[in-house]
Every structure is written in structure tokens, then in C-alpha cells.
Symmetry: C2
Subunit: 325 residues, 2 copies
């Protein structure tokens, strides 16, 4: 356990609890309070507070945008789960399952607006820049989700296209969370940009780890169904590599499973996982994760604050790499 | 024709044409360009430019927020049409029909973000206030849509609840469009507030007129299917009044139609329209429209600029009251 991180988590938890607490109509805001109370790792708002703390500023200055980032993240999960027809999130029914599709759409919209209301709380002189970063991030995340959906129709997605997709869909949010925290702590533009890039690399490693956990995770700790990406034909790093590296027989068997309509889900998961093992893709993915992780450390080391101040961020990023959920 | 309004419409048309013009991926932005190019009356951005012009300021200062307001409006139409299962908008297929539900969700999200990017273009000293007005407006519109959907399940909606719903869903957007334009032209807080209230009253009259057009409009000019609200059991002003004023026999016949599952749509529309006629509801609605319209004139007359400058706004609001589409 890291004392400072625990303390920040507590602060975030308290603040999240207050979001739209009494707001009416309850039909609009119950789903918002539901998804926000599901928990999750709160990594993104933590990064915002820790970036402010890195520059020796009271992280309380960054609590507004930290919440904005977390609310936006949960908005995107809400709409993505609806678009992906995902029934379970963090071990609980998703909003469109517990309520209905219209609730998921409209309560999600309300969350995006609420995230902007929290961004609006930053000091006026910083507002134009922070708003610009936030909106760019938001649009990048939409683009990433669109590429992710578009890739489902394609068998020829390249590794470069995949990395760009997860940069947009996942990494930009971590980078922006850090950069906004840094700017609120009066960091220099160079340091803020370094932290953004640090977040991008952590984010790429984080998403690749997520792809691995979908296949190799422990169903008890993972929170989502194991093999969900496989059943959805998600073009994960593993599937893209499998399509590229499979020999003739493997490839046609894989394509059979990808186009199969009536099948036993467990059998499909078993086949695909077996193919990944034959192609040694777990190791390939772990090597790439290591590469991005090392690059992130390099970027963090260039930020001009004392090494001593960086240890909490290092602790957090290391724990993200070793996570089992 | 009003020369100044025509000129503003031309400017809005040019500016809308540039929104997200070249942006990729096209799967995300084609639906955005499609709905924005459908046209419509562009009343809301017109109000923003005209409010700036009212205070003798070059309306070009307000073109950014004028677009923000129009993009947000079209975002809300996009998501509302999906939630309401509406197939046709302005005589053309809606986005979820032409593409699919996921496109409507995600391209709508991208539009909301883009609307915030246009709001961010206002001069920095005005940004906090304008952003606050815009986000409050956005949240009010979501609340209005939620009440509208909630009302579909209820037979006991009161007139007051209905007026509050259309205030949120429709009128606040007109009021905010005007207020933002006024603030960009350095209007006093009192004048900006008067214009907001003027917009609220115009908006209430506008929506009541819309309810009337759904029943009594000319299918050739209206753009939507006549009787759409009736078939969707929308709790419009007319239906609420009918439920309140129908005698025993009329009420049970109406309730029969409201709960009917298998029926001829034309027959239902004919029955409901006939009941409205028996109850004289067209006149009741027209009287209420007149009441809000007169109140709006009163509010506009209190704005402290020369009467001469108000004639374009008066021309526009009058044409909104007399419209057939």
C-alpha cells in the first residue's frame, strides 16, 4: 500500500459521492449515480491529483478536473457498453441492461455535460487551455471507439492501426489526465508535455495488458467475462498478430471461427486461446508492454522535478502493469 | 423577406459547411455532416447573431457560439430521433435509419464535443460565463427529454408539468442562444437576462405551435409525418388537455386508443384529431401561444436599445409564430 495514493483515493471517493447527488429527474440521474458508484480503479482522477502533487502543489486545486476526467471516462464506458452489447461491467449489470437503451443514451449524454461542468471549475486564466485539452481528448476517444467498431468488420487491421486506435481510445485519457493536473500546478509546458507522453505510453501498455487479461486473466478478479473480446471478434493485439502470423491451416480455421454464427462460446474461446499459445503471442504482447513501459519511465525521468517526488507515480504505474484486473 | 436575416442565414450556412469538413474517420463524421447539411430553419444560430446585432456589435463576434448552439441542437435531434424511433427528419431518413443505432450514438457524442469546441472560441474573459450558460442549457435539454420520455408512461401529466418540460427541452435553447449573443456584444446583465426570458417565451409558443402542426400541419410543408405525436402517445399540450377535459365516454375511447397495440394508424390519428376538434383544443392552444407571444413582446420592449434595432428580432419571432413547418 502507498499512503499518499490511498489518501488521494479516499478524496476522490468522497468527491464522486457528491456528483449530481440530489439532482432530478431521478430517471435521468439514477443511472449516472449507479455507474459512478460501481467503483473501478479511479486511475484517471488519481493521475490528475498525482500530477499536481508531483509539482508540489496541493492536489485539491485539481479535484474539479480530476472528477471531470473520471465522469467522462464513465460516460464513455456507458455508451461503449451499449454499442458493444456488453452485459456486465465490474461484475455488475450495465446500465442498458439494468434500465434500457434510452436510459444509457440520455444518462450518458448528461454525464458528458456534467464532466464539462467540472472542467469549467478550473481557475479562469487556465480555462481556455484546459478546455482545449479536454475537448481534444474527448474527440480522440470518440474517434478511437469508431475505429474499434470499424475494425470489427475488417480482417486486415495492421499493428500500427491498432496502436493508433488504442492511443485514441485509451491512452489519450491518461495523458490528458496527467497534463491537466500538471498545468493546474503551474508546470512548465515542457514538463506538461512530457507527462502527457508518459501517460500515452502507460496507456498503451495498460490497454495491451487489458487485451491479455481478457484471455489469460483470472475470472475471479477480472470483473468482465473472460474471452469477451474473442466472442465479439474484437481486433485486439492478439487477434491481429494471430491473423498475421498464422500458417495456412491455422488461418483458415481461425477465419472459420470468426465467421461462425452458431457455436459453443467456450469452444471458440478454447480454440482461439490455443492458437495464441501456439503462436507464442502472450510473450510477444508482454514484450511490447515492457517496451512501452520502459519508454514511459524514460519520459518520466526527464520531467524536471526531484526523483523523490516521482516515486508515487512510479508506484502507481508499476501496479498498473502488474495488475490482474 | 428581411435582408439582414437573409444575410445572417447565408453566413451561418457558409460556416456550417466548414464544420468537421475533412475530419477522419469518415464513419464517425459522415453522419455529422449529413444531419448538419439537412438544413432546417437555423433559428437558434440566427438568434445568437441577431442578439449581438441588437447591441450594435458586428455579429461575427458571435459566429462561434452560434455554431455551437446549432451543432448542439442537431446533436440533440440525432439522439432524440434514435430514442423516439423516428424514421424521418426534415423529409429525410434519420441517422440511425440511414446508418445504424451505434452511428447515431457515437456521431451524436462527437457533435456534442464539437459544440463545446466552438463555445471555447469565445474571448477568454467571457469564457467562464458563456460556458456556464451553455452547460446549464445542455443539461436542461437532457432533463427535458427525460421528462418527455417519462411522460409517455403517464396519463396524469399536468399542464404545469408539460410547460416545464418544453421550457427545458425547447425554450432554454432559444433563451441561451440569445443570451450568449447578447453577452458577446457586451450587453448589460439585465438586458441579457431579459433576452433570455424573451427567448423562453418565444420557445414555449414555438413548441406549442409545433404540437399544433403535428396534428393540423400541411404534410407537404411540415417535413415530419402528420400525427407522429399521436401515434407515439406523446403527451403534447393537446393530449394533456384532452385527457383532462374529455367526458366519460370520450375518455374511455381515448384510453382505448392510447393502449391499443394492433390498429390502423390513420384511424387512430382520425379519432384523436376528431376528439381535439370536439374539445375545441386548437383554439385553446392558439390562445396560449398568443399569451406567451405577447409576454415575449413585453420582455423585448424592456430591453434598453432603440426600438428601431429590435425590428429584425420582431420580424423573426412573428414569422416563427405564423410558420407552417
Amino acid at each position: 500500500m502507498n499512503h499518499k495514493i490511498t489518501q488521494f483515493e479516499k478524496r476522490i471517493h468522497e468527491a464522486i459521492d457528491q456528483v449530481l447527488r440530489q439532482e432530478e429527474p431521478h430517471t435521468l440521474f439514477d443511472p449516472v449515480r449507479y455507474i459512478l458508484s460501481m467503483g473501478g480503479k479511479r486511475v484517471r482522477p488519481l493521475l490528475t491529483l498525482m500530477a499536481a502533487d508531483l509539482f508540489d502543489k496541493d492536489p485539491e486545486v485539481a479535484i474539479g478536473p480530476a472528477l471531470a476526467v473520471e465522469i467522462f471516462h464513465n460516460f464513455s464506458l456507458l455508451h461503449d457498453d451499449l454499442m458493444d452489447h456488453a452485459d456486465v461491467r465490474r461484475g455488475m449489470p450495465t446500465v442498458h441492461c439494468k434500465w434500457n437503451a434510452n436510459s444509457a443514451i440520455l444518462s450518458g449524454d448528461a454525464m458528458m455535460i456534467e464532466s464539462y461542468r467540472y472542467i469549467a471549475k478550473v481557475p479562469a486564466p487556465l480555462l481556455p487551455e484546459v478546455l482545449e485539452i479536454f475537448s481534444r481528448m474527448a474527440m480522440d476517444i470518440c474517434k478511437g471507439q469508431q475505429y474499434d467498431m470499424d475494425f470489427e468488420q475488417r480482417l486486415d487491421v495492421t499493428e500500427a492501426e491498432y496502436i493508433e486506435m488504442i492511443r485514441l481510445k485509451t491512452a489519450v485519457l491518461l495523458g490528458s489526465a496527467l497534463k491537466i493536473g500538471a498545468l493546474l500546478a503551474d508546470a512548465s509546458p515542457v514538463d506538461a508535455a512530457l507527462l502527457y507522453d508518459y501517460g500515452i505510453h502507460i496507456g498503451l501498455a495498460f490497454q495491451l495488458k487489458d487485451d491479455l487479461l481478457d484471455v489469460y486473466g483470472d475470472p475471479k478478479t477480472f470483473g468482465k467475462k473472460i474471452g469477451g473480446d474473442i466472442l465479439a471478434n474484437k481486433k485486439t493485439f492478439l487477434l491481429i498478430q494471430a491473423l498475421r502470423n498464422a500458417d495456412g491451416a491455422q488461418r483458415s480455421a481461425l477465419e472459420h471461427w470468426l465467421s461462425a454464427k452458431d457455436y459453443d462460446p467456450e469452444e471458440k474461446i478454447r480454440f482461439v486461446k490455443n492458437l495464441y499459445d501456439q503462436l507464442n503471442l502472450r510473450v510477444v504482447a508482454e514484450n511490447l508492454i515492457e517496451k512501452y513501459y520502459l519508454a514511459s519511465l524514460d519520459l518520466l525521468s526527464s520531467v524536471r522535478v526531484a526523483d523523490e517526488r516521482k516515486k508515487d507515480l512510479l508506484y502507481l504505474s508499476e501496479s498498473l502493469m502488474c495488475r490482474e484486473k
